[in-house]
């Protein structure tokens, strides 16, 4: 029995158990947790069967459903099951007593089932079927969990269904061109295709995956959709769900089409496909990141980063050299860990205070130090500062872009990073720093079951930062299996030459610096902790009735600078399209006037038009 079938069957069993025993709390919590743990265990063991193929003898258009294990999908399966397990642990307490808990767990399994199916599939039709299961289950759960949720889920769905329809065209077109849905067959025949057709087919797939991975300008569904649902589900979605689109891009760009084929696609003599793709990736980094600055809701802010961070992965892939691709792939797991960590921290705060509004929180560091630490680790990773993991992958990407001669894409990455630093500081400041509102005086730290996933992720975020080689080993295998060059990595970073990176040295030096600073600190006399009202206020006396805090419109000045350039073209286009559909629908509806005499005229008109047409034929 292949591990693949085990994975899929267990995920499906989770769905069925949760539906059947919808009244049992034990099933929802502990059996689900157990199944998720088994899933994680199985997918960890998948490396033993890399290269194996497994198929269900069930024909669709003469094609059996097939699955295969490669290093690439091993990497993704690890991330999916790992993060599902952590989410499940976190949800034990978070979802307790909430309405819709059965639905929550059912969809969690369904979604895992869908995602595992997508990444493990070895042919287009299997890919598509699971892709649909994935997006429908997302829609289903995204519709719950908040007041605004149904509306934003519908918006998500419009994008998702557009993506799958485009994908469907791609799937069927490949079938009619190559006579097979199988990835390997398509890969072997891809060179025989004419260049314009290759370009068209590739664009279809890339556009479809770009919608799912929220590439600018098709990103607007993500922030709303992700921020209005349950926060734990936000973690799950933002961590891995969006990145399935990136999986598709990696698979098609490098696995199926192959980079040599892609590089043949050149327009206007000079601009190649990858560069266009890179420009969109660059816009994806910059625009959403700066939009995040404007947000007043923690979940929304972090959801915008979910868009922005995707740009780094894509731009790494677009650079198409060994360093850039490994940076892009490495960034997926790095992003996953710190992003989920951040969302867990936000969820903890929400769990205790009931709000994620950045203007209403503050000073929680005194009450929830672990959550604060989790958020701190997360934002250092997100901002891409050493010694956390986000820095390593971003360093790969910057360096790849500079060295392969894309200075403006590189600066776009830098701009994105700076925007990120600004907005994450706002996040941590407005939630945990500054003045603690009196109403939060009795708040406690979250319980152990919620702390545990955060501790695990903190260790991973830091560990992968110091020892990027842990992940690089797998990534090198992925690159080899895709026929790409490999980066000379070491356990601590990049091994070769003067451009090497050694994270261990950096971290150790930083620790040494801290130690020296600590000695100097100890030289002075003892410090005394004072409360927040013992503060400089220009001579004014402070107490709890005096609002003495700065968090509203944190970056007003830079907003003044950016505002004239924020034309909200996307929003306006979207509104325009909605208006157009509405108007068309209204006019079409008016065709059916309800008056019999107009209907008679229709029949006559149809008759006449058909006569004219048939006359043409004769």
């Amino acid at each position: 029995m292949s591990i693949v079938s085990g994975l899929l069957l267990i995920a499906l069993a989770g769905v069925i158990l949760n539906v059947l025993f919808y009244k049992s709390k034990i099933v929802q919590k502990y059996v689900s947790l157990l199944l998720f743990a088994v899933l994680a265990y199985l997918s960890f063991n998948m490396y033993k069967q890399v290269g194996s193929h497994f198929s269900i003898p069930f024909l669709i258009a003469g094609q059996s459903i097939g699955f295969t294990i490669t290093w690439l999908n091993y990497y993704f399966a690890l991330m999916i099951t790992g993060i599902t397990l952590l989410t499940a642990i976190f949800s034990l307490k978070y979802m307790e007593g909430k309405e819709g808990i059965v639905h929550y767990y059912t969809v969690l399994f369904m979604k895992t089932f869908g995602m595992l199916g997508v990444i493990l599939s070895s042919d287009l039709i299997t890919f598509f079927v699971f892709w649909e299961i994935m997006s429908w289950s997302t829609f289903s759960l995204m519709s719950t969990g908040g007041k605004e949720a149904p509306k934003s889920a519908l918006k998500y769905f419009i994008f998702a269904v557009t993506a799958s329809m485009i994908l469907m065209v791609g799937v069927v077109l490949s079938y009619s061109l190559f006579g097979s849905f199988d990835f390997a067959v398509i890969h072997s025949k891809i060179d025989s295709l004419s260049l314009p057709m290759t370009g068209f087919l590739l664009s279809i797939f890339i556009v479809s995956f770009s919608i799912e991975s929220a590439v600018f300008p098709m990103h607007s569904w993500l922030p709303e959709g992700y921020s209005n649902t349950f926060t734990t589900f936000t973690a799950y979605l933002t961590g891995i769900s969006t990145r399935i689109g990136i999986y598709g891009i990696i698979l098609f760009l490098f696995g199926i089409f192959g980079i040599q084929t892609v590089d043949k696609l050149v327009i206007l003599g000079k601009i190649n496909f990858r560069y266009i793709f890179g420009v969109f990736a660059a816009l994806t980094m910059i625009i959403p990141t700066f939009t995040a600055l404007y947000q007043h809701d923690a979940k929304k802010l972090i959801a915008w980063h979910s868009v922005g961070q995707g740009g780094y992965m894509l731009i790494g892939l677009a650079s198409a050299n060994a360093l850039g691709i490994s940076g892009g792939i490495l960034h997926i797991i790095n992003y996953l860990t710190y992003q989920v960590l951040i969302v867990f921290a936000i969820a903890s705060v929400e769990y205790r205070t009931g709000t994620t509004n950045l203007n209403k929180l503050g000073g929680l560091i005194k009450k929830m130090p672990v959550s604060y630490l989790a958020l701190l680790f997360g934002i250092i990773g997100l901002a891409g500062l050493p010694p956390m993991n986000g820095f390593v992958s971003k360093w790969f990407i910057y360096k790849a872009l500079i060295m392969s001669g894309y200075p403006f894409l590189a600066i776009a990455a830098v701009i994105g990073t700076i925007g990120t630093i600004l907005s994450v500081y706002k996040l941590i400041h407005n939630m945990f720093l500054g003045q603690l509102p009196e109403r939060y005086n009795d708040i406690k730290e979250v319980s152990f079951s919620m702390q545990l996933p955060m501790w695990i992720l903190m260790i991973v975020v830091f560990g992968l930062g110091v020892y990027p080689g842990l992940a690089m080993g797998l990534i090198a295998k992925i690159q080899t299996s895709l026929g790409l060059a490999v980066v000379p990595y070491s356990l601590h970073g990049i091994a070769s030459g003067s451009g090497q990176l050694n994270m261990l040295v950096i971290t150790a030096l930083f620790m040494g610096g801290l130690a020296v600073a600590w000695i100097i600190y100890l030289l002075g006399s003892r410090r005394k902790h004072v409360n927040q009202y013992n503060n400089y206020a220009g001579g004014h006396f402070l107490n709890k009735d005096v609002a003495y805090n700065f968090n509203y419109e944190f970056y007003a000045a830079i907003e003044h600078v950016i505002d004239p350039y924020r034309k909200k073209i996307i929003e306006r286009t979207e509104r325009g399209i909605i208006g157009l559909v509405d108007a068309v629908s209204e006019y079409v509806r008016r065709i059916y006037t309800g008056m019999i005499n107009t209907y008679a005229i229709y029949i006559l008109t149809a008759f006449v038009i058909t006569i004219i047409f048939l006359k043409e034929l004769i």
């Binding site: 069930f58 024909l59 669709i60 258009a61 039709i125 598509f128 079927v129 649909e132 299961i133 429908w136 829609f139 519709s143 719950t144 949720a149 149904p150 889920a153 519908l154 769905f157 419009i158 269904v161 557009t162 329809m165 485009i166 469907m168 065209v169 069927v172 077109l173 079938y175 009619s176 559909v581 509405d582 068309v584 629908s585 209204e586 079409v588 509806r589 065709i591 059916y592 309800g594 019999i596 107009t598 209907y599 008679a600 229709y602 029949i603 008109t605 149809a606 008759f607 058909t610 006569i611 047409f613 048939l614 006359k615 034929l617 004769i618």
Partner: protein, 486 residues
Amino acid sequence: MVNPILLIIIPLGTAFLISTVAGSLKNSTKYLAFLALLANVWISISLLPQVLKHPVNVIIAGIKPPLGINLLVGPMGAIFSIIISVAGILVLLYSFKYIEGEGQSKYYTLFLLLITGSQGMILTGDIFNLFVFFEILAISSYILVGYAGDRNGFEAAVKYLILGSVGSVFILVAVALIYQETGTLNMADLAGKFASVASGKKMMIMLFFITGMGVEAAIFPLNSWLPDAHSSAPSSISAVLSGFVIEVALIVIIKFVYSIFAMTEILQYLSLVGVITLLVGEFAAFNQGNIKRVLAYSSIGQIGLILFAMTLNSEAGLSAGMMQVVNHTASKSILFLVAGYMIKMTGSYQFTDYKGIAKKMPVSSFLFVLGVLSLIGVPPFLGFFSKLNIIIAALAVGNTFNTVMVFLILLGTIIESVYFLKILQIFYIGDPIKGGVKEAPFTAVFPIAIFAVVILLGFLVLPEINIYAGSAAAELFTKIQITQVF
């Protein structure tokens, strides 16, 4: 060997029987109707293996064609007859509790006549006979649309009556022209003789026939009666009208175009019309608030899709179209039947009034979801495979026209999913509505569930479905069976 004539005789005879014994049996006549349809189901299913081997030609009253009347049953006819009988019996079961009040036997009489007409149109081998069955079907459906007796129903029925009559006049003209030109009304005979007709006359005949039948088949812009009729009729009747009546008319057109007129030149025109019909239907449904109107417009969209698939001039397209017919019959019946009880329970046609109804009517709502998913074409439902096959068939031709059409169809699908999902969200989200809303009775839920099983588990018998649909397609496409008879 079972005689396909029974498929027509039994419902027809039972209809007369019911109307004669209605006085003494009162409301128990429904069981008679049920028995009749049960026999129909059995006959039609046992007919299928036979016709797969060789088409069945039944000569009526001993006079041989071309002078006499015959029935000509190929795989396509058998499949349709199964669709009609199965959908018919399930909807009949649903009607047991749904149709209330006095004079129910009238309803059942008309219902059986409707079945008779549909079966006859599919099975007959004679063009004038076709016209007669068409009239039976049409007249019984006019009355059924107005059965509720309210103002809306009556108005819709009158509109339907007028437009339907225009349609039948067109058909009659076509029949007359055919007879004038070829001197025969037998389909098989005609298939051989039609080629010799002058091309201008050919066009004229086809024009009248397609326009006339197009009214019943709900092809845009001849379908203007449909939104009113389907939304004002009792839900059980809407289910039948959407479920197989319009498809029957459509398949007659397709059958004539492919195997009798053999005029493949106009197929592209028809497929364009199909896509326009689809877009019109989906866009019109987009902003509707009345749940039955939404479903009615969606039927227009689906019929457009079927028309497109069947006019691709390929066997694959026809076969995919047949699959889509099955899918549409099952899923649209689910939607109409569920909507029927929702309307009954809440007293409102506006789906915005159904907030959180899933908590009160969980089974019905769940079945509705299944219907929607299959209609939109979500894997692993039957609708996905039929839509996939349609697109495969369309792109296999490989011209730009078809590629553009595919994109338009998918645009239609996007629109369709959006308006259906708005409804689903209303069903499932929000506090349950007040009042005495409760789950539909077993006699309603059971038939709906059977439909749901068809679309949900259809993928398990996909190869078989492919075989049957494929042989039906082959029958139409290659014309072998129609000429085999002689």
